[in-house]
């Protein structure tokens, strides 16, 4: 990974905002989909596709690419938007999301779209799949990294903890998990639905190296990913504290936006806010 200069950081921040715009446009056009989690992860996906990952959008099957596994497949709009901007497919194709015949399935389908590493959506099994890819890489003595994005809510699933135990046992240091700690799930706040805290201590007890970052601070996130690369003998979990619905005031921190898409009027307000924010970010960088 190259050094994160100020100029690059500014680009990643502006790019994250562009991703947010596309998410709103896609979800409006689709008429359904998950708004909050997608918006909340825009900064991290901007960082992944435009700075962290070693990848080639024109050659998505390149054997030595870093693998980005998305376990909580329902936030795929953020991934699709980042992939389109990175050049995996035309940006216009984003407007086919969730429509018949589209490569952009409502939840990611590996065989439909080059560049997806797994098929996901049903929660709790993405980390296991990432572990399988990490084991194969280790057996083949490959140097690429495996990143797995998970939600916090999917830690209710027993399968998640089976995977956490396994990765700890096998000291899978080529694996980094990013936990989107946005505190919401469909039925409410995670701590009301099923308390997850102390999450950090749980991972540590399962023999993981754990870092916590502000998921909207790209510099901090990139530093954490770099630290994870330097940790041998343990997998790393980066608990990324994010604001669900980030960038759209009436969606932020509201679990009702977990599984909803905006209507026309809401989308207009959302885009106005995101564009205003975009102008502000630009100004700060000047």
């Amino acid at each position: 990974m190259e050094i994160l200069h100020d100029k690059k950081l500014h680009f990643l921040e502006e790019n994250a905002n562009k991703i947010r715009e596309l998410i709103i446009e896609m979800l409006l056009e689709a008429g359904s989909g998950h708004s909050a989690g997608s918006l909340g992860m825009a900064d991290i996906f901007s960082a992944f596709y435009f700075h962290i990952l070693s990848h080639d959008p024109k050659n998505p099957d390149w054997v030595d690419r870093d693998r980005l596994v998305l376990s909580n497949g329902h936030i795929c709009p953020v991934r699709y938007a980042a992939m389109a901007l990175a050049g995996y497919f035309p940006v216009e194709e984003l407007m086919t999301l969730r429509k018949i015949g589209s490569r952009l399935q409502g939840h990611p389908y590996r065989l439909a779209l080059p560049g997806l590493e797994t098929t996901s959506g049903p929660l709790g099994s993405g980390l296991s799949q990432a572990i399988g890819i990490a084991l194969a890489a280790r057996l083949d003595q490959k140097k690429f990294r495996i990143y797995c994005v998970t939600s916090d809510g999917e830690h209710d699933e027993g399968n998640t903890w089976e995977a956490v135990m396994f990765a700890g046992k096998h000291k899978l240091s080529n694996l980094t998990e990013i936990i989107d700690r946005n505190n919401i799930q469909i039925d409410g706040f995670t701590e009301d639905v099923m308390p997850l805290e102390p999450l950090r201590e749980k991972y540590e007890a399962f023999r993981w190296h754990v870092l916590e970052v502000d998921g909207h601070n790209i510099e901090e996130f990139v530093d954490a990913v770099n630290e994870a690369r330097a940790i041998y003998e343990k997998p790393t979990a980066i608990i990324a504290h994010t604001i669900p619905g980030k960038g759209v005031s009436f969606m932020e921190q509201d679990f009702n936006w977990h599984g909803r898409s905006p209507n026309k009027e809401e989308a207009k307000r959302a885009l106005d806010e995101i564009r205003t924010l975009g102008q502000r970010i630009k100004k700060e960088h000047e």
């Binding site: 797994t118 098929t119 296991s128 799949q129 990432a130 890819i133 194969a136």
Partner: protein, 334 residues
């Protein structure tokens, strides 16, 4: 008589002949597959010896992964390996895999077309003393409804070995169903085993027309042969078809023999609902409707007991197969 062309075991009817469990054949097949291809990997969920993956584990420790009692994790890890040019086999009891981890298999293996082989052991009531919790009677139904899944159900240890080897060669998800009960060998090393091709194991002597087709799979193919032999003594002549591949089903061969017989008995150690018999019925209802009698478990759970006792109690004994053949002959439209 046994089909001479298939080089079946001529000692099958001898009481002296040694019995061997399918899992032993499966374990031998895994070791050979591992020798042939370094991408073959085995995962097991705390049932290393019971599912006979211990030889593989000793021989290829770097390619063996113990997941602990965690079948969901095992399936999804295998899915990740399978999309990374590996050929993972996951091995557990069928009640747990594909029972407990069905959704992981559906999403991450079948839909995802990951190259994973699922070995479901201890299928059927003949698991015996462990009781109904450990007797998988629904696994064929669970697996055959999945797109992209090949479903194999070998009839003896030799066929189980060949099934393991064939699965490693197939590019895509495969389910292999294995019972626990030691069985007499029906086949030999030289008997052909081609995925998707059912074979006639028994047919009447030359010049005698068959009256009924017994279509059997897995642990009960042997019983179907014993029933055929006894029926012959009563001047009832049948064909026995061994359908080791339940999916893709050998439509051509099934229709061919049913055209000759006009009546069918299906025989399996599984729930009647959704199993191999149902698959055969689907094919025949659409292409060549004839009377069918189903031998299998009839919508109940099993219980503890000796394997042979349970097979009898739940209506899958040689006697039941013979009765079903006689019954279907009465229903036959001449």
């Amino acid at each position: 008589m046994l089909n001479q062309n298939l080089k079946l075991n001529s000692e099958f009817f001898s009481d002296e002949d040694e019995r061997k469990s399918l899992r032993d054949g499966f374990g031998e097949g895994l070791v050979i597959a591992g020798e042939k291809n370094k991408n073959v990997i085995v995962l097991c969920a705390d049932l290393e010896e019971s599912t006979r993956v211990d030889d593989f584990a000793r021989k290829f420790p770097e390619r063996f992964f113990e997941t602990g009692v965690a079948e969901q994790n095992m399936a999804a890890i295998a899915a990740g390996l399978g999309v990374s040019h590996k050929i993972p086999f996951i091995s557990s009891f069928a009640v747990f895999s594909p029972g407990r981890n069905w959704e992981q298999i559906r999403t991450t293996i079948a839909y995802n077309k990951s190259n994973v082989k699922i070995a479901g052991h201890h299928a059927g009531v003949a698991v015996g003393e462990d009781g109904a919790t450990h007797q998988a009677l629904e696994d064929v139904a669970l697996m055959r409804v999945m797109p992209n899944m090949t479903v194999l159900c070998p009839c003896d240890a030799i066929e189980a070995k060949k099934a393991a080897l064939a699965a490693a060669e197939i590019n895509g998800p495969v389910y292999i169903r294995l019972g626990k009960q030691p069985l007499r060998a029906l086949t030999t090393e030289d008997t052909p085993f081609n995925v998707g091709r059912a074979e006639i194991f028994w047919e009447p002597k030359a010049g005698i027309a068959p009256q009924c087709a017994i279509i059997a799979c897995g642990s009960l193919v042997g019983s179907a042969i014993l029933a055929a032999k006894e029926l012959e003594d009563e001047d009832i002549h049948v064909i026995v078809l061994n359908i080791h591949t339940i999916k893709p089903i050998d439509l051509k061969r099934i229709i061919e023999i049913v055209e000759r017989t006009g009546a069918v008995v299906t025989v399996e150690e599984h729930q009647i609902a959704g199993g191999m018999g149902s698959a055969v019925a689907e094919v025949l209802a659409e292409n060549y409707p004839v009377p069918i009698e189903f031998i299998g478990v009839d919508d109940v759970f099993g219980e503890s007991g000796k394997g042979d006792e349970l097979i009898e109690k739940y209506g899958m004994g040689v006697r039941n197969i013979k009765e079903a053949a006689k019954k279907v002959l009465k229903r036959k439209v001449n």
